[in-house]
């Protein structure tokens, strides 16, 4: 009886360990889990297009008239 209980406990512990480790999967967590010192690892931002930049430059220049 004790042997069966022990086997059951070992099996349970192994299952718990496997489940715990699988929960560390980055894609399942939906957040950054790794870390590299000095490196931004978050989502990448979209770049502004040439048209958008040209508009911004014109708008910057328009501040001169006041």
């Amino acid at each position: 009886m004790i042997a069966i209980t022990r086997k059951f406990l070992v099996l349970f512990a192994l299952t718990a360990v496997v489940a715990g480790l699988s929960a560390c999967a980055e894609d399942e967590q939906n957040r950054v889990l790794s870390y590299q010192k000095g490196t931004y690892l978050g989502k990448t931002d979209q770049q502004l297009s040439e048209d958008q930049l040209r508009t911004l430059i014109n708008r910057s220049n328009a501040q001169r008239v006041y």
Partner: protein
Amino acid sequence: MARMKFLCDAERCIECNACVTACKNEHEVPWGVNRRRVVTIQDGKPGERSISVACMHCSDAPCTAVCPVDCFYQTEQGVVLHSKDLCIGCGYCFYACPFGAPQYPQAGNYGSRGKMDKCTFCAGGPEEDMSSLEFQKYGRNRLAEGKLPICAEMCATKALLAGDGDQVANIFRERIVARGFGSGAWGWGTAYSIKS
């Protein structure tokens, strides 16, 4: 294109706080968080000057250097942004920033302040441009709309300038030449000078 920069002309600022109000309204910033504020020195005395202060998007940003989770990044236009997904609310950036720009939604100790919030130069954050998620986390992305930051665009006296650094510097230079005195743009040296 040069880097995006702010410049506050202390000779023109009349402490109307319209930039503060516009910023809060545009980005629906919560109570207790001020991305921009107006500071007055020598209040009520001769030599009184007001300046509008927010994140200056430093070239070599100290907040980026001290962040323990590296949640800061710079866009190609030099705008310093951060990811609220990575931020742990430690408050180190607040202590490092010479302008007191980082703000927190709650008062508390390490890690209990909530995600840091600061001026984004109206450039949103690392979410899809002009998406509802970006607006919810970081506020409106006016740069993607081809507009400059709301604080500068609506400044009645054009004390607060924003945009392409070369052009902003040229506008200020023309004003200084016209005035014939002074040349110090508040915060410019701290934020944009090359540090040895």
